[in-house]
Symmetry: C2
Subunit: 344 residues, 2 copies
């Protein structure tokens, strides 16, 4: 069994503004540790004993970041999205570019995974089920009642390593999220999927025939340029963008899940990034020239100016170029609505 990683590089760069920008979105930043999230995504799925060279799906605006960071995964194929059309179409481009029986592992590159070995083990389990025709979601151990994630309710077991999906649940409110945790049987949907290329395209054709046809045309009329593949822009632009969850996973009767507990975060805002970072005994995580006096649970990072902080708790401070962000931890979810983040 060989697995082909499909690395998705999306994102508008607003929720981790001002570090992330439209021109330099989240995957291409070293948010946790010294590697960027994209580099970490490649490295996680980089063991040649398990994985074939990846397929990277990225917008033209971000190709320079992909080139600069692709490193040892240099044999990757890169599919250049002619326009942003959400994950269903991006995955379909990869699937339509690969043999029907290729086993795809779809990996968003804007997440953090603390335990890569468990990721690989789950990938193998998911690929096993995918080889039997299932469309398999990673069901990530839900450790807190998050309201920012979708959930997966597990159904009947499928052998030793997985389950049918009983249903996908959209982002719940706090009370429902707490009920999910109390009840058990619910996992987070992290957007990581495994399936055969042919299985995915068959289900896409069944549930979103127009999208499937447009992708086939875009690939048929596309052209290669070295390791780049450019799908036909006109055919692709006609697609109505939809997430793979809405377009396929919530509709197919072949949905399965494999449970995995791998210290996962989608780093959806600065508060989540703070939680994913290494912190000192006072809960502070700092990068750059920073002096803290009497502070607890701070995230402070600066690309140049010294930042001196006194007497604050649960605050996030980011200095990046000509922008300074200071927010309460709770306020972090509103960062994307700031003028600076919106008008990029």
């Amino acid at each position: 069994m060989r697995i082909t990683p499909v690395i998705l590089c999306g994102g508008s760069g607003t929720r981790l503004w001002p570090r992330s920008r439209a021109s330099r979105p989240k995957p291409f930043l070293p948010l946790v540790g010294e590697q960027t999230l994209f580099e970490q995504a490649l490295a996680r799925a980089g063991d040649p004993a398990v994985f074939d060279p990846p397929v990277v799906v990225a917008g033209a605006a971000h190709l320079r970041h992909v080139r600069a960071q692709i490193g040892a995964a240099g044999r990757a194929r890169i599919i250049v999205e002619p326009a942003a059309r959400n994950t269903a179409a991006a995955i379909a481009l990869a699937a339509a570019s690969l043999p029907e029986d290729a086993l795809l592992l779809v990996c968003p590159s804007d997440h953090h995974i603390g335990d890569p070995a468990r990721f690989v083990a789950a990938a193998r389990a998911a690929a096993d089920l995918a080889g039997q025709g299932w469309l398999v979601a990673f069901g990530i151990a839900a450790t807190t009642p998050e309201t920012g994630y979708g959930y997966i309710r597990r159904g009947e077991p499928l052998g030793a390593q997985g389950f049918r999906v009983d249903r996908f649940v959209e982002k719940p409110d706090r009370a429902r999220a707490e009920a999910f945790l109390a009840e058990g049987g619910y996992s987070w949907n992290g957007g990581i999927f495994a399936f055969r290329a042919g299985s995915f395209l068959a289900e896409l054709t069944r549930h979103r025939p127009a999208m499937a046809e447009a992708v086939r045309q875009a690939v048929a009329a596309g052209h290669a340029e070295g390791d780049l593949f450019h799908p036909d822009a006109t055919a692709f632009a006609a697609i109505a963008g939809e997430s793979v969850d809405y377009a396929v996973m919530e509709n197919t009767d072949r949905a399965a899940m494999v449970p995995v507990d791998m210290t996962w975060s989608d780093i959806g805002n600065w508060q989540a990034l703070h939680a994913a970072r290494a912190r000192d005994a006072d809960g502070n995580a700092v990068l750059g020239t920073v002096e803290l006096v009497g502070c607890r649970n701070l995230l402070v990072e600066t690309d140049g100016p010294r930042v001196s902080v006194i007497g604050l708790e649960n605050v996030i401070i980011v200095v990046d170029g000509n922008e300074v962000l200071v927010t309460s931890a709770d306020g972090a979810q509103l960062v994307g609505k700031l003028t600076g983040a919106m008008r990029q």
Copy 2:
């Protein structure tokens, strides 16, 4: 009666760091309104019907600021302190350079006074008593139990406008400050004094004879250079620096005070500056490109970068060149101890 303002320009530039710096201390910054504190000090004592041209006492490092800001008070004499030796010696330099019967009004230039008309009225009352040989302190209406100010306890009345000083009280703890307010009869000592040049020098000679002699020598051996006067550096350097309160006011039996209520602040830290500034309905005071979302009682100022703030209360944020300060209001008193403020 004519009064000669003696404008003192001192300060190490640490408590309002990073806006104030050693090279650009508090008096020379537009901290409240569009004029600098030094310009406001000159303007307050600028009515030619009452005041003679001022004597400005400043260090050599700050002459360029004095020159740039002295404006309409261009007929000022400027005494260049050869070294920083605290207020007693600085005032003595001015007194020894003026006729014995000149009425001096000593004005620190790092304070804010909201009601200049009351300042002038008090200056006239103080000058009246000074003309009778008293060394007169402004007794500023104590409106809150401040622990950062010295206090003056009033004694017997001296005519209609003033009182003998019963005693000067050093910075009290909170409980004593509250007791002072409850008891009445206590005012803040704002470092504003009136006396005849001769009276001051006589009391200095009585209580600090070595300092008085060193100042006389420094003036006698000094030299003029246009409107500048340079006291002799060697003689002046020998002085042990002391505040005018310690050296003279707390020792003399000719101490008087005039009460004045003029919305005064020494702007001793960022929290005090916030209180002196105009604020919006949410208590926020901002300067520069700033976006606030759900914030109350913030002071935010930036000399360039945009500052975006979400969900904070009672916080001070200052962006100045290569320094960013973020402090709780209570933490403002610790700003002078920051590495950036200390290592200038």
